[in-house]
């Protein structure tokens, strides 16, 4: 009893002492005893802090009994008891194995014990570049992850992990934010995706605030994701948002970025010949009629001809150009010299400016943590009249109701407004359709600009028939400024997602989580074509609402069964309800009142709007078990049962499971000091999947009535009430090693994934009355190698150099289709080109017409043209890259750090409709110039012009027949290009103001000033005049360039203030 009193007295005296301030000194070193200069020393829970001197020493005045939080770049942050003479030894950061990673369902695990591939990226790594799109910023930073993004403003990002698995379904990775699945559906129309025009409205992953991201963990294989259910079969991008640290923290980011086009990705124009498909027309390649009213016929540029195979330029020749028919033009009824344009379409592109401002506020007390963030992004594009504005607010709160019960809630609200997104594909609303395919080299773009702005009228160079009043209208192409300022789209997407949860710690080994999460967005897309444009004026609106609710109840169990054996287990239920609802309405036959965009302004009777309502429910039950033996052996098993409403009622439930194991073998090799850690892991998993909505029962399609006659039709795809769930089987083996105190390490994975029994609309003979029928058929195999490597080649007190390398090689194969069906067409493009899943080929073959060959040589007909296949089903390309990779280098010198990312894509092919049509129109310099005889190739054959197509004739001898340049066509197979590239994707130079200086301000905790560049330089590419990465949209249809946009290079600076 006396003893007890003594102890109590001691404790009381301690607490008495607590109130006193004392000054302590200490030193910060690494394991070898070397001083860590510039280390930050902070009193825990306060803003009191200092930095270590060059010899690592520091002095700080703290409250008695306080703790010090000491951190330094390249070292793990650590807490120490504040006592004088403290020698704080910091551990070097071991990026590979010491990390705590967040796994499925938000369970935090030590990476040491993780039996499957998961790669974590810090929020800083995706927000640093200030793109506003966290998904796009992952490019090159994670192995196994293929990111593809086009150059459109606010466009969608293709995010595929370990290759495309589903033949016709979704192949995009699932996004999960703080345990809540966030819909990332690509909502672009199928016509937009295949290049038939439309806008890229982006995908919803862009609604996530990059500044709120603490970490992104990419779970690549089915073993890691099986608990998330079917949707996770394509891998999961798991985002954990920031949680408040103790005390109050405010971070402000403010930056501005400008964008200009990379001219190496835009065409050059020949300057020798002008408008026309030939050099005849009415006179010498010109139209010939009286323009100025003097009774004499005049030479007129053939304005209706959207090509440049016409008359040779001649500055002495006076001709009437398009502006001679524009009464507002100073050149009205005046002839001008016949010369090439001064200003090419390149000058149409402007400098885009984007500003990015965000404020994040977080605070934490004993019981409550709260955070509030607001981000605003304003971006104007490189096309006139284009803008995307993004506002994101996020809020998070957690409250410890009791020691055991924590309640938390988070909500993320975003509003994205677009105006004048870039038109895409083969459409007059895409200015590049004309710039790259159908253009007259005599048209001066700046003169077109002046012509439009003079009266805001549709003054085109492309008059239908300038000899008549009624013909002085556009035949194919509007004035480009008219297109941008009159025929623009507008869109808005408002989204709210978040959750409320209760976590109850029943005992120290059992906890219970109940959570309701909601994701809801509404979208409005309005498209218009003004009265006075080429084509029928219209207005359309597409309203879409998506909502999803998840109810989760999860019990977590964590107990050491014996001293050596730890058991973790979980059991849970997930009820998911989601519904997509949409209405599309459009005017019909034109607009009554110009510039009024309302459905009721339709000239003709409005057709019935197209409605869709697709509700879905999935009930999932799951359980998991993790056995850990002495921290080096881990065995994982999970099982899940889903019941999905999209499957036939009698076959709507399915089970799947995963088994994984890992062995941290380095624990047995303590003598090998060069080996910091080593782990081998192995797993097998299956994931079931359900059917697309509405593929079970048949229904008729509504067709607009024909007068009084009502019309219905059978749909093109036959449904199937005998569908079974589909399944993905995945095997994976991985090795993780770290050497030399973790200065060097890598993570290698080999995987094989087979997706079998797929539910696909099998292409059948259309003589059945259907194009396709839903069947369980088809198998796709993906196998590949993923490699992540990091190293710190140089590390001194003031200077460090770190390298991160990611490399992925995926091989993809369509192993089976159905019966005699050997091909599944995913999309068709112009020019008889299609993108397909072909049996025995990688997913995504490009098919089209090819040149017949003889002994491996192109076969040439007797008349000098290529002998081409009559079929368009020849495989002429494959969209899959051979490998992709990224190298990220960071150099740090004192407070200055320089980082750059080189992003590499090796191989993969694409079809360029732009280059294909260019051969018809003679825009590029290659279509002019000299032939092998040294004569202008466009000269007539009599004058020594023409070209000899390389190849052999039927007798096997080299072709010697010369043909005129505008009279032959070369099949699409010759317009397949290597889509590989090496890009300097990111460059950041950041100066962090010294901690000592900051401390003096007493206001700031940190000030960082960064200079940022994105897509600055395409170091290497094999495709002229275009960006090989440019794509129409995210989705399964890749490998078509049609009206491609040039790369936008971004430069900017950002100021980050921490309070």
């Amino acid at each position: 009893m006396r003893k007890l009193l003594l102890i109590m007295g001691f404790i009381m005296s301690l607490s008495f002492l607590n109130a006193q301030k004392l000054t302590i000194t200490g030193k910060v070193t690494d394991l070898s005893g070397a001083a860590i200069a510039g280390a930050t020393i902070k009193e825990k829970g306060t803003s009191n802090g200092t930095t270590a001197a060059n010899d690592g020493s520091f002095t700080i005045t703290v409250s008695e009994g306080a703790f010090l939080v000491i951190s330094a770049i390249g070292f793990t942050e650590q807490e120490f008891e504040a006592k004088s003479g403290l020698n704080a030894v910091l551990q070097a950061e071991n990026k590979l194995l010491d990390e705590v990673v967040v796994t499925a369902l938000g369970i935090k695990r030590n990476k040491n014990s993780l039996p499957y591939a998961a790669q974590q990226v810090n929020g800083e790594d995706v927000s640093r570049i200030r793109t506003g799109n966290a998904a796009a910023a992952l490019s090159g930073k994670v192995s196994g992850l293929e990111i593809r993004q086009g150059n459109s403003i606010g466009g969608s990002t293709n995010i595929v992990i370990r290759g495309s698995k589903s033949l016709t379904g979704n192949n995009q990775a699932l996004f999960v934010v703080d345990g809540v699945p966030v819909d990332n559906t690509i909502n672009n129309s199928s016509n937009q995706q295949r290049g038939a025009g439309g806008y890229d409205y982006g995908n919803a992953a862009a609604d996530i605030n990059p500044d709120d991201i603490e970490t992104i963990n990419v779970l690549k294989g089915a073993a890691a994701t099986a608990l998330y259910g079917s949707r996770a079969a394509n891998g999961v991008v798991m985002i954990t948002t920031k949680t408040a640290k103790r005390g109050l923290g405010i971070t402000v980011n403010s930056g501005v970025t400008i964008g200009t086009i990379d001219k190496s990705t835009f065409p050059k124009y020949q300057k020798e010949y002008g408008a026309g498909y030939e050099t005849v027309y009415q006179k010498d390649g010109f139209f010939y009629f009286d323009v100025d009213g003097d009774g004499e016929k005049d030479l007129v540029v053939p304005t209706s001809e959207d090509a440049s195979f016409g008359a040779k330029f001649n500055p002495d020749l006076m001709v009437y150009h398009w502006d001679a028919f524009d009464p507002a033009s100073p050149n009205y009824k005046k002839a001008r010299p016949w010369v090439a344009a001064q200003n090419s379409p390149e000058t149409f592109y402007e400098t885009g400016v984007s500003t990015n401002n965000s404020i994040m506020l977080d605070a934490a007390g004993d019981k409550t943590t709260v955070k509030l963030g607001y981000t605003r992004n304003d971006e104007t594009g490189v096309l006139p009249n284009s803008r995307v504005t993004k506002n994101i607010v996020n809020f998070g709160l957690s409250y410890k109701v009791t020691q055991r019960l924590t309640a938390s809630a988070s909500v993320n609200y975003s509003k994205i407004d677009g105006k004048g997104r870039y038109g895409t594909g083969y459409s007059g609303l895409n200015v590049n359709q004309s710039f790259r395919q159908w253009y007259q080299t005599n048209v001066d773009l700046q003169e077109q600009k002046e012509a439009y702005f003079r009266n805001l009228q549709n003054v085109t160079w492309n008059w239908k028939d300038p000899s008549t009043e009624v013909g002085t209208v556009p035949i194919y192409f509007d004035n480009y400024y008219w297109t941008r300022y009159k025929n623009f789209e507008t869109d808005t997407r408002t989204r709210t997602f978040g959750n409320v949860s209760l976590n109850y710690k029943v005992t120290d080994w059992l906890s219970l989580l109940g959570r309701v999460s909601v994701d809801n967005y509404t979208e409005l897309q309005e498209e218009r074509r003004a009265v006075g444009s080429q084509g029928v004026a219209f207005y359309s609106r597409f309203d879409r609402t998506y909502n999803e609710t998840n109810f989760d109840l999860i019990a977590n169990f964590d107990k050491n069964i014996t001293e050596d054996l730890n058991l973790k287990a979980l059991a849970g239920v997930n009820l998911r309800k989601n519904a997509l609802s949409s209405v599309y309405a459009a005017t019909n036959g034109g607009l009554v009142v110009a510039d009024l965009y309302a459905i009721s302004n339709s000239l003709g009777t409005v057709s019935a709007p197209t409605e869709a309502y697709q509700p879905k429910r999935v009930d999932g039950y799951f359980g998991g078990l993790t056995l850990g033996y002495r921290n080096y052996l881990t065995l994982d098993a999970t099982i899940r049962r889903d019941r999905s409403s999209t499957l036939p009622e009698n076959n709507n439930a399915y089970n799947y499971y995963a088994v994984s194991g890992s062995w941290l073998f380095s624990t047995h090799l303590k003598n090998a000091s060069w080996l910091s850690s080593g782990k081998i892991r192995l797993n097998y998993a299956t994931v079931g999947n359900d059917a697309p909505w509405g593929s079970v029962k048949d229904a008729y399609d509504f067709i607009n009535p024909f007068g009084g006659a009502l019309l219905y039709s059978l749909p093109g795809t036959q449904n199937n009430s005998a569908l079974l769930p589909e399944k993905t089987k995945s095997k994976e083996i991985g090795l993780e090693l770290a050497f030399f105190k973790s200065r060097l390490g890598f993570d290698a994975t080999y995987y094989i994934t087979n997706t079998v029994n797929q539910i696909i609309p099998v292409a059948v003979s259309t003589a059945t009355g259907y194009s396709s029928k839903y069947l369980n058929a088809g198998e796709v195999q993906n196998k590949g190698i993923e490699l992540s490597m990091y190293g710190t080649p140089v590390k001194t007190r003031d200077f460090s150099w770190t390298v991160n390398v990611n490399w992925t090689r995926n091989r993809n194969m369509v192993v089976a289709l159905y019966d005699t069906s050997k091909n599944l067409q995913l999309a068709t493009s112009q020019g008889g080109v299609s993108i397909n899943a072909s049996l025995g080929q990688p997913y995504g073959t490009i098919q089209g017409r090819a040149i017949n060959t003889l002994n491996g040589q192109p076969l040439v007909n007797d008349n000098g043209t290529y002998s081409t296949t009559s079929t368009t089903t020849n495989v002429i390309g494959n969209v899959n890259p051979k490998w992709i990779g990224g190298i990220y280098n960071t150099f740090r010198y004192k407070n200055l750090s320089l980082g750059f990312l080189i992003d590499v894509r090796k191989g993969g092919e694409l079809f360029s409709l732009d280059m294909f049509y260019e051969q018809y129109t003679g825009i590029l310099p290659e279509s002019a110039g000299l032939n092998d005889l040294g004569n202008p190739k466009r000269n007539s054959l009599e004058d020594g012009g023409g070209v000899i197509l390389p190849g052999v004739t039927a007798d096997g001898k080299p072709n010697t027949v010369r043909i005129a340049t505008n009279t032959y066509s070369i099949p699409v197979s010759e317009y397949i290009y290597d889509a590989g590239y090496v890009k300097l994707r990111e460059l950041t130079l950041t100066y962090s103001f010294p901690a000592a200086m900051i401390a003096k301000t007493k206001v700031f905790k940190g000030i960082d000033l960064s200079f940022i560049g994105r897509n600055l330089w395409i170091i290497h590419k094999n495709m002229k005049y275009s960006d090989p990465e440019e794509t129409l949209s995210a989705g399964n249809v890749q490998g078509i360039q049609s009206g491609a946009y040039p790369t936008t290079r971004y430069f900017g600076c950002n100021l980050k203030l921490k309070f």
Binding site: E305, D465, A612, S644, A699, Y712, A767, Y770, K822
Partner: protein
């Protein structure tokens, strides 16, 4: 034990399951529709295909040299593959027409409320449109899936012999004629886009269709053709009032497809071909100004098929052709009279003379296009038109006039051009093949139905456009 309390809510949630299949119900599309709606939709789809001038749908106007193109020459030069025209044509016939007709027949057959006579009429109407459509398929490709087509259980049907299909089609028309009962109704006047509910007109259409089918095979099976033509000649379409046609509406989207293409689409590059235009000009044909509008100078001129032409110098399709409510003729009086003229020449007993039927046919065509009786008579009085004095044998005389009369019905003109081999048209500039006697099978068939495709290609003598069809022997 107390921890079982925790598991309890999980079990409750797990237990609160109900039937979830209702989530997969179509709530925006019907599972049941009236049979007539499918019939009407099929009729409209076949008409849209035949009337169309879109280069993705129907390019036969260039093939038969009625039209030329100003700028883009691929289709005029017989390139059918780049735009997958065989796929589009085949899919339209089977998927967009025959499947809806077949479904319509199935629903009529299954109806327990329909009057038996009405049912018989509707089944005959639906069947006649199926026969009409199958004949297009055979005349376009040769052997095609028939006995195994439109069968839910057969995803990759075999192809039937074209001649065998033809004889079955003839048998079906004969049976349809016997089923049609004018004293009962068929499809209602609003749903019947062909004859507005007039069963007598259907009977005339059926008999003319039978004559068409029979005449098509006359060169290979004269006796069957003779019997069929003679049995139907008396009941076939006997005046313009009985023309089987669809009349498009003034308002989109139900206008004639040419209106959408030319007027709404603002196309300026469809031109008269010199081949047809020269015939119209040289014979001062009253249909010249009905078929085409003038060029910029107010004159009439045709372009060269396959070559770049200056649009302002050339005649373009007339405003009659591109009118929103312009009709499409499935089968008309003029065509029937041409068949009868031919029948006389082939020695069939159908009454009248070849010359009288020939004159009736031409006069009916001129009158249909808005020419006057006088204009028709003076045209017929020309020595180069009059049956007695025009040059050439009966095939050449009828062939030429039928080719002129079948303007704006490009598929029919193509079929008749192949049958008569007259007028002789030179290949277009830059032709990528010989004259197309058929279209190649769709790429989709090659890729999904490879075995049947290979057999069929061998059976018809090779899957090439130059391969002649079974009836194309003389």
């Amino acid at each position: 034990m107390k921890h079982f309390k925790i598991l309890f809510p999980i079990l409750v949630l797990a237990a609160c399951t109900k039937d979830i299949s209702s989530y997969n119900e179509q709530t925006k599309k019907p599972a049941n529709v009236p049979a007539a709606t499918l019939f009407s939709n099929a009729v409209r789809n076949i008409s849209d295909g035949l009337a169309n001038a879109s280069v993705n749908v129907n390019v036969f106007r260039f093939t038969v040299k009625h039209w030329a193109m100003a700028t883009y020459q691929d289709e005029a030069q017989y390139d059918f593959t780049v735009r997958a025209i065989p796929d589009a044509w085949w899919a339209r016939m089977y998927r967009d027409v025959l499947n809806d007709l077949d479904e319509s027949s199935r629903l009529i057959e299954a109806s327990s409320t329909l009057d038996e006579d009405v049912k018989a009429n509707q089944l005959a109407q639906s069947d006649l449109m199926q026969v009409f459509t199958y004949s297009i398929l055979v005349n376009t490709f040769g052997n095609v899936p028939y006995s195994q087509a439109l069968d839910n259980s057969i995803l990759f049907p075999t192809y039937d012999d074209a001649a065998a299909i033809y004889s079955d089609l003839l048998a079906r028309v004969t049976s349809d004629i016997s089923r049609l009962n004018p004293s009962a109704a068929g499809f209602s006047s609003t749903q019947d886009l062909v004859c507005q509910g007039n069963i007598n007109k259907w009977i005339a259409f059926a008999n003319s269709l039978k004559i068409r089918l029979a005449m098509t095979i006359a060169d290979v099976d004269n006796s069957a053709a003779k019997a069929a033509v003679e049995s139907s000649a008396g009941n076939a379409i006997s005046s313009a009032d009985e023309n089987a046609m669809i009349t498009y509406l003034d308002a989109s989207p139900n206008t004639n497809p040419l209106y959408a293409d030319i007027v709404l689409g603002g196309r300026n590059d469809y031109l008269a071909a010199e081949d047809l235009m020269n015939q119209l000009i040289n014979k001062t044909d009253p249909r010249k100004t009905k078929y085409f509008g003038p060029n910029n100078d107010g004159g009439y001129a045709g372009g060269v098929v396959g070559k770049v032409n200056t649009a302002s110098e050339m005649s373009k399709p007339s405003s009659i052709v591109s009118a929103a409510n312009a009709p499409y003729l499935f089968l008309d009086y003029s065509e029937t009279e041409f068949y009868l003229a031919e029948a006389i020449e082939r020695g069939y007993n159908v009454g009248g003379t070849a010359a009288s039927h020939y004159a009736n046919a031409i006069k009916a065509s001129i009158r249909y296009w808005g020419g006057t009786e006088d204009e028709a008579n003076s045209y017929l009085a020309r020595t180069d038109v009059n049956y007695a004095t025009a040059t050439g044998n009966w095939k050449q005389k009828i062939g030429l006039q039928k080719w002129i009369a079948l303007y704006n019905r490009p598929y029919e003109a193509w079929t008749e051009l192949r049958r008569f081999d007259y007028p002789v048209l030179s290949l277009p500039v830059g032709a990528v093949s010989g004259f197309p006697n058929r279209l190649t099978y769709p790429a989709n068939e090659q890729q999904t139905n490879g075995g049947s495709y290979t057999q069929a290609a061998a059976a018809i003598g090779g899957d090439k456009v130059e391969t002649k069809l079974f009836w194309d022997v003389n």
